[in-house]
Amino acid sequence: MLERRSALASATPYVSGSLSIAERPGFSLTQVAGVEEKIAAVTGPLPEKVARAQVNGALTIFRIGPAQFWIVGPEMDDTASRLQGQCAVTPLSNSRVRIALEGAPAREVLSMLIPVDVHQTVFTPGTVALTGIHHTPVTVHCTGETAFDIYVMRTFALNAWEVITDAARAFAGNP
């Protein structure tokens, strides 16, 4: 039996004051592309714009282009199998690592990493940005006022982790 191993197995969770950075495993990720009505019949409503996430029960859906979506669900999820034959389905669960960045200085840390306006009046909870950290593509999802999920390619995960924790050290000692 193959055992799933984290790409961040060697990384130590970072905690300083209220700021924490930790891998958030336990999710499934499926990329789908096709006729939106067929996809929506299985997943529920789809986000109209790239910038907003749509939450349908246990599923969180990101639009990543025209008629192309990411579906984030629980680790054991049958959405991908229910979509088979309805659209192009690409399982990505093993290709991405989810890093949770949380705490009061989280926006300041993020602003050092991505070329996106992360001000609390612009990058509100539910906002999504397809962008890059250290020249590698990442998807950033604002899950709360000071909480973000960062989806990183598995092969770049350790590098992204080091860059993120490096930026966080500027706020070490902050409450």
């Binding site: 790239v50 910038a51 990543i64 282009g65 025209p66 070329p115 996106v116 940005a129 397809l130 962008t131 890059g132 020249h135 593509p137």
Partner: protein
Amino acid sequence: MMIPCPYCGDRDVSEFRYGGDATKQRPQHGTGDLKTWHDYYFLFDNPKGPHTEYWQHVLGCRRWFKLARNTATNEIGGVVS
């Protein structure tokens, strides 16, 4: 410089890749004249002023699109359909 991605909205130029002159017309398939192909592949104008270019949102939605940009001022004229 901010570039208006047709799918992601206004984003920083560092997320994009320049893809070349979008005004060049590829020779028809079957064109046998080597000079035509030579000129298409190797000769480029270097316009100063309004220009239409290919750009890819490589760190975002990865889509290609045509963009109007003034090469002298970097003023963005918007996405060209």
